[in-house]
């Protein structure tokens, strides 16, 4: 052991030529992907006249007028609250009902289970885009047009999330649950104290993607609300162009205000998201 064997490599410098080349490719791609956002920021800090002058990245006279104008329009805080209420409720309901259903399908036996499972999986093929019109008339019949519930509940039946969690629960070793069973714990206790804590990465991935989808959902709130007080951020922003006419700095400031909350959230949660995607087994399917 005193003489180093040839198989043991010297710790090589991380900046090999290959690494430098890869990093340059990554830098170029990142620059292309971020530049539209930077351009939006640059536009939002210009005066309306300067924004339509020949394109340049750094504003000549920096102004926050557009940001102030959008914020003072009075509706943004309202839209923001609506978006938070809708997305938080949707995420909570989906996490609870989808994980319960996935557990029921993965770990319990009852008559008609495989038929119900098949019906649920058929839901992978239906999307709000296809169901749009009949979904609207159903919600209308339930008297939920122009209500929070009308915006929230139809987003709470994603078969895909049940499927992802079902696959994950199936991959958990049964022994953990069996030990608790022998100790006399019921299914519900096992679900909440053993299965859910083990599923944190998967649940956070499902939760985060549900939240993103709900926060950015445009078509459904657009169809189900006429009341401007119930508008969510994406819908409000889409109508800003009508309110202001086409004033680019205002449009871009509004867009950044609508988009920033999720980007900030992602900065903090990005490693959990990547781990969650890996953990669900979705990627290695």
């Amino acid at each position: 052991m005193t003489t180093p064997t040839p198989a043991v490599r010297k710790p090589r410098s991380s900046w090999t030529p290959a690494q430098i080349a890869l990093t340059i490719v990554a830098l170029v791609l990142s620059a292309i992907w971020v530049s539209p956002l930077v351009w939006a920021l640059s536009t939002s800090l210009k005066t309306p006249t300067e924004s339509v002058a020949s394109p340049h990245w750094i504003p000549d006279d920096l102004t926050f007028e557009a940001w102030k104008g959008v914020l003072d329009a009075g509706n943004i805080p309202n839209w923001f609250v609506n978006s938070v209420v809708v997305s938080v409720c949707v995420t909570f309901i989906v996490l609870l009902t989808a994980s319960l259903a996935a557990y029921g399908f993965a770990r319990t036996e009852f008559r008609g289970k495989s038929a119900l499972m098949a019906v649920t999986m058929a839901g992978l093929m239906f999307s709000p885009a296809i169901l749009g019109v009949p979904l609207f008339t159903t919600v209308q019949a339930l008297g939920m047009v122009d209500t929070y519930w009308g915006m929230i509940l139809p987003q709470c039946a994603p078969a895909a999330m049940v499927y992802i969690l079902y696959k994950f629960f199936q991959s958990l070793p049964r022994e953990l649950e069996e030990a608790a069973f022998i100790d006399g714990a019921g299914r519900w206790r096992i679900f909440f104290t053993i299965v859910l804590p083990l599923s944190k990465p998967s649940l956070s991935a499902v939760g985060i993607f549900t939240f993103i989808a709900s926060w950015n959902n445009f078509i459904w709130p657009y169809m189900v609300t006429n009341n401007p007080d119930l508008m969510t951020m994406p819908n409000g922003i889409a109508t800003v162009q009508n309110a202001f006419g086409i004033v680019w700095p205002q449009l871009m400031a509004g867009g950044l205000i609508a988009g920033l909350p999720l980007i900030v959230v992602f900065v903090f949660f990005q490693s959990q998201i990547v781990r969650g995607v890996a953990h669900t087994g979705l990627a290695g399917q």
Partner: protein
């Protein structure tokens, strides 16, 4: 220490359940049935998926309007009309055209991004953030942003390329503009799937190949690519299904119009125009089911392909 002894003592002692305890047990036993776990989801699913599906199917055989008054049964008339409706076929073609352009682009770019982000040693978080950030934007914001970027005069795209193409107002580039915006917006999701798949490839495969003298390119073609086959199938399926339903970003980029010479009216857009602008709910439901049939064929086709492969391989 003391708590352990107490639990041991209580479990060992033959116990007589109090009334409250046995009531709780009985309650507990009644709800042990697996049906209670799936019930909450199935209620929502029934109300907001199955009922609309059944309702849509029924409406597609009627001449219903949005108010629901004076509905009468018209048999297959709506479907017959749809087959003869040029706008059904042209809008369907626009959605298919969009899918044919955007799906290969997403797969190639997402894979490239994932390889780069996986194999670089430094700043991995930065690449992840940059590639994924656009996915976090609402579709309306994406639509407005690219509407601005594609402006013929003083738009950033023309400025960078040194051209003066009227991207959004001529038929030949109108769809391309939506494809570029969508690629930029949604590639991050597929990128994450690829990244997770790359991380799941066992390291020892690469180490063994390296010891056997395989170069970087050989490792890529012999280890990485074969191991990504499954995830590519998943990405393709998800993207095809999503792309056929394109709507949001397209209508925002074209301010809810059908685009230059009606070249960007997508299928979902036409459905909603019929349902909410022309108030022809029955007809709109019928054409929705045509799209559903296409999507069902794609989804079942994927299942069939997968089954075929699982039987073929020994794993």
């Amino acid at each position: 220490m003391s708590s352990t002894t107490t639990t041991l003592a209580t479990t060992l002692r033959p116990r007589t359940a109090t009334a409250a305890e046995s009531a709780r047990l009985r309650w507990g036993r009644r709800f042990q049935h697996g049906g209670w776990f799936v019930a909450p989801f199935l209620v929502l699913y029934g109300l907001f998926v199955m009922v609309p599906v059944a309702r849509g199917l029924y409406l597609s055989f009627t001449d219903a309007n949005i108010s629901g008054d004076h509905t009468s049964f018209v048999g297959l008339d709506n479907y017959r009309e749809a087959l003869k409706d040029d706008l059904v076929w042209s809008s369907l073609w626009h959605s298919v055209q969009f899918t044919l352009y955007v799906v290969p682009a997403i797969v190639v770019v997402a894979l490239l991004m994932a390889l780069v982000a996986h194999h670089t040693v430094h700043f991995k978080w930065l690449w992840r953030l940059c590639f994924f950030a656009p996915f976090l934007l609402p579709s309306a914001v994406v639509g407005n942003l690219w509407w601005w970027l594609f402006q013929p005069v003083n738009g950033m795209v023309n400025h960078v390329l040194g051209t003066d193409t009227p991207w959004l107002t001529q038929k030949s580039t109108a769809m391309l503009a939506i494809v570029v915006a969508t690629l930029w917006w949604t590639v991050g999701f597929s990128f994450l799937l690829y990244l997770a798949a790359l991380q799941a490839i066992p390291r020892h495969l690469y180490e063994a190949a390296e010891l056997d003298g395989a170069g970087a390119f050989q490792r890529l073609t012999h280890i990485t690519v074969p191991n990504l086959r499954n995830i590519t199938g998943l990405v393709l399926a998800l993207q095809i299904l999503a792309s056929l339903q394109v709507f949001d970003q397209a209508v925002v980029m074209y301010q809810f119009t059908p685009g230059p010479e009606e070249s960007t009216r997508t299928f979902v857009q036409y459905t909603l125009e019929q349902g909410f602008t022309s108030y022809r709910v029955g007809y709109a439901s019928a054409i929705s089911f045509i799209l559903f049939l296409i999507i069902a064929v794609v989804a079942l086709g994927r299942m069939w392909l997968l089954r075929d492969r699982e039987e073929g391989t020994t794993r």
